[in-house]
């Protein structure tokens, strides 16, 4: 009796190409699964995807006519995803699983709001106001992330749990201030509006010089994201500190052996990770809503995690993935049922993580002779152990 077995064998080396194929292929498969789900919900998947694309990026006809509203909205949505994504990416490089970017974003937004409304006078010059808000936002997000960082560095507390739980504490903190709290405007669940000196410049503000910019709300926060991506790449791949981060991430024992200080690096990385998320919060309140609202983020901090992962922790690729998820949020706004954007995000993450396995293992279909009544491994999945020449994956 001959039957086939599928064996999973480790690959020696993952090529860059295989990695890209897995990401793109995973994305395609996720869209197919999403289409099936849309169909099951009674929608026309092709029409839905078409609508998402049109909404998020516009059509060639729009571009020819100089209308870039879709693209601009996508950039607005991508900005907090990019900043939080870069933050968690830095942590992930060191295998520090900060999934509290959402809470850190809220704390950053809170601190920036405090500066804009209650610390600096209304007529503060714009550069000074915005710089102070950005620094305060980064400090607040960084310190918020430093709590789980310190617990991890000194007591070995699992940061996944602590960063996750601190999200909810941050949500309540914001609620306390703006839901009928000290910062609430006449009992509404939002703070008073910021003075204009605390608004990040938007493209539309320059419409008097470039008429095509009229109505485009993309703001300076996206430039923060671009600068942060470049800085992160420089740190990770060109600096001594980034080298330490990568060594610690790959093999903490070797890092200790090389005399690297693990605790200090955990504290630093967590702080910067949280600071970037805090900057995302500042850019969101100063660039989009111009006030602090309860639950103003639809989960940017979580989308950032997915964007970082889909980008394979590459600080350049995350520019693309955050635009993708930003576009999804913009495009799916018009669709019923709501929540399609998050459904697709979830499916994408799921499939891409699954596809990642194929970059490290390959499936081999082989015939084998089965012995009647033979014991042992049933036909089907069989993991072939590696021989000493190659080191097994973790």
């Amino acid at each position: 009796m001959a039957d086939r077995v599928i064996r999973i064998e480790p690959r020696l080396e993952t090529t860059r190409l295989a990695s890209v194929i897995a990401s793109v292929g995973g994305l395609m498969l996720a869209l197919l699964i999403g289409a099936a789900l849309l169909r099951a919900a009674g929608a026309d998947p092709l029409a839905a995807y078409g609508a998402i694309l049109r909404e998020a990026f516009g059509t060639p006809a729009d571009w020819a006519a100089g209308r870039f509203y879709g693209l601009s909205d996508t950039i607005v949505r991508a900005t907090p995803i990019l900043l939080t994504g870069l933050g968690v990416l830095l942590g992930f490089k060191m295998r520090l699983w900060n999934i509290g970017a959402e809470g850190q974003l809220f704390m950053g937004a809170w601190a920036a709001t405090g500066i804009a409304l209650f610390v600096l006078p209304k007529d503060t010059p714009k550069p000074l106001m915005l710089t102070t808000m950005a620094l305060a936002g980064m400090l607040a997000g960084g310190l918020w992330a430093l709590i789980p960082g310190a617990l991890k560095a000194w007591l070995g507390v699992n940061e996944i749990i602590t960063t996750l739980m601190l999200n909810y504490v941050a949500f309540q903190w914001i609620s306390f201030f703006v839901v009928a709290g000290p910062w609430s405007e006449r009992g509404f669940q939002l703070s008073p509006q910021f003075p204009e000196s605390a608004w990040l410049p938007r493209l539309t503000d320059y419409a008097h010089r470039v008429p095509a910019f009229a109505g485009l709300t993309a703001h300076l926060g996206f430039v923060f994201g671009l600068v942060a991506a470049a800085a992160l790449w420089l740190i990770l791949y060109r600096s001594r500190w980034g080298y330490e981060i990568r060594v610690i991430g790959d093999n903490p024992q070797a890092a200790r052996y090389a005399g690297m200080n693990l605790a200090r690096n955990i504290l630093l990385v967590m702080f910067i990770s949280g600071a970037l998320a805090g900057l995302a919060g500042m850019s969101e309140v100063a660039g989009v809503v111009h006030r602090l609202q309860d639950r103003f983020s639809p989960g940017y901090g979580f989308s950032g995690i997915i964007a970082a992962w889909l980008a394979k922790l590459n600080p350049w690729a995350i520019l693309l993935t955050s635009l993708l998820f930003g576009g999804l949020l913009v495009g799916a706004k018009q669709l019923q049922p709501t929540g399609i954007a998050f459904m697709l995000q979830g499916v994408i993450l799921f499939v891409v993580i699954g596809a990642e396995m194929l970059t490290r293992y390959r499936l081999v279909i082989a015939r084998h002779q089965a012995v009647p009544g033979g014991l042992g491994v049933p036909a089907g999945l069989e993991i072939t152990p590696t021989d000493p020449p190659t080191r097994g994956e973790g």
Partner: protein
């Protein structure tokens, strides 16, 4: 076994191997590490399936899907790493995984049977002892008993002597001969020529997955002949050493105490000195405090008492970085888990200790040009075989990885080099290269602390030998004319007066 082929990604582990053993013989399977010995035996014992080829047991064609199928045909394997449950007794471990008895466990009956087997083959171990109470040698006996209890007629022993003292090796050999006389077949996997010649009736040699000699009678071959078959070229067994010119004391360890990971005392008042230009060997059976000793000296484990002086400076319980900056190089026991960063490139692994200082460091940045020059220089000088300078370190073979680590540690120009099992798992050729490197360091005036489980290695390289047992130094002998029996007794815990002439 006929025409066995087994491929692993990128490696042809067995290339049309034919292998035949007869009833009642001790057949050695000899080869360097990575030659495919263990793979071949894993196929025979049902752990792997061959890609091609067939297995016949007593003329009958068999296909094994798991070790269970193999044991049903009377083939059992004792692995290098024991598969025992520490909290259970010998008898419980022996019946572990068996179908019988199905419901009621009659332990006393099983214990009696185990005791009978133990008696018959002189595998002395108490059936009711818990595994954690047993020494490594005794645990190995339990593994052998396990296979005998399952009715193994063909017993595969994978490098069984690696963890034993010389005395335990003698007992094991005695048992194996006894079993062969009783009609059992023993397949003895090894890369140590002396023991193969001492125990085997016939020898099969593998090199790079192919058979280079099949079933040679052991009486008719010599050690150099076997070595040539195994390595493919002539091998020098004793490296010539220049006479020692010990200089000033580089490392002084005074009454050092430390605990193991479990919080038990692992070092109990260890004192010794290493001078520049000499190799001091620490011999002992694995797990007697050697790992902890290396870790405490290199700043990776806290000392609970005593002092460590490097070049006269107290580095006790200072961070690893301070110890490194004091000129201590470290070739760690575990190459892949400690000594290298598997997913980073060879080039980035080579700067693991040099990245803080110029020329590699350029302010807060790394000088990528200098990293590349550093790497290409060391790869050439130390003959590290790598496809590219930035190929991930995990792709390197054991010997190449060890050369990488040595290149890195030696290029930092340390005063003291602490090397732990520097040739474990390396083949004869790679071992020779590592030994030459260490001796070259000695001649250039470095102090070398060699901690090794391989007594032959210590005898070949060390100028003075200290034996460690349960965290204490049992005594010191000069390597010149050292008596293996004396060292063996010390390894088993007998304290000896110092026979070495203390130099200064």
């Amino acid at each position: 076994m006929q025409g066995i082929v087994k491929r692993f990604p990128g490696v042809l582990a067995n290339d049309h191997v034919d292998f035949t053993v007869r009833r009642g013989e001790i057949h050695a399977l000899l080869g360097e590490n990575g030659a495919g010995k263990t793979t071949l035996m894993n196929i025979l014992s049902g752990l792997y399936r061959p890609d091609e080829g067939e297995i016949r047991v007593r003329g009958e064609r068999c296909v094994f899907h798991s070790p269970r199928d193999a044991i049903a045909r009377g083939i059992g394997m004792v692995h290098q790493h024991f598969m025992l449950v520490p909290s259970q007794t010998v008898a419980e471990n022996i019946i572990l995984g068996l179908d019988r008895p199905r419901f009621l466990l009659n332990l006393p009956r099983i214990e009696a049977e185990v005791a009978r087997l133990a008696e018959q083959y002189r595998l002395l171990v108490h059936p009711r002892a818990k595994i954690w109470q047993l020494s490594v040698g005794e645990q190995q006996r339990v593994e052998v008993l396990k296979m005998l209890y399952r009715g193994a007629q063909i017993l595969i022993m994978d490098e069984p002597t690696a963890v034993l003292t010389p005395q335990e090796v003698r007992d094991l050999f005695h048992t194996l001969r006894e079993m062969a006389r009783g009609g059992h077949t023993i397949i003895f996997i090894s890369h140590k020529l002396d023991e193969v010649l001492a125990i085997a009736d016939r020898v099969t040699v593998l090199r790079r997955g192919r058979v280079t000699a099949a079933g040679l009678p052991a009486q008719s071959v010599t050690k150099p002949e076997l070595a040539r078959l195994m390595v493919g070229r002539e091998v020098l067994f004793r490296l010539s050493k220049a006479p020692i010119r010990p200089g000033p004391v580089v490392l002084a360890v005074e009454e050092l105490w430390a605990e193991s990971d479990k919080g038990l005392p692992a070092l109990r008042g260890v004192s010794f000195q290493v001078r520049s230009g000499e190799v001091v060997g620490i011999a002992g059976v694995a797990g007697n405090g050697q790992s902890e000793l290396a870790q405490v000296i290199t700043g990776l484990r806290r000392a609970t008492g005593g002092r460590i002086l490097v070049g006269g400076q107290d580095v006790t319980n200072r961070p690893a970085r301070v110890v490194i900056e004091n000129g201590v190089g470290h070739v760690p026991e575990d190459r892949s888990a400690v000594g290298s960063v598997p997913d980073l490139g060879v080039d980035e692994n080579l700067i693991l200790k040099a990245y803080r200082e110029p020329p590699i460091a350029n302010g807060p940045f790394l000088d990528t040009g200098a990293v590349e020059r550093h790497a290409s220089h060391l790869v050439r000088e130390f003959n590290i075989l790598t496809p590219r300078l930035n190929a991930p370190a995990r792709l390197l073979s054991g010997g190449n990885l060890q050369r990488l680590i040595l290149a890195r540690e030696v290029s930092a120009q340390p005063r003291l080099l602490v090397a732990v099992d520097p040739t474990r798992g390396l083949d004869v050729g790679a071992t020779e290269a590592v030994h030459r490197l260490l001796l070259a360091q000695r001649e250039s005036g470095k102090a070398i602390l060699l901690i090794s489980e391989d007594l032959d290695e210590i005898l070949a390289l060390a100028d003075r030998i200290l034996v460690i047992y349960e965290g204490q130094i049992m005594g010191e002998v000069a390597a010149e004319g050292a008596d293996v029996n004396t060292v063996g007794l010390m390894m088993a815990g007998t304290r000896m007066p110092s026979t070495a002439v203390e130099s200064g």
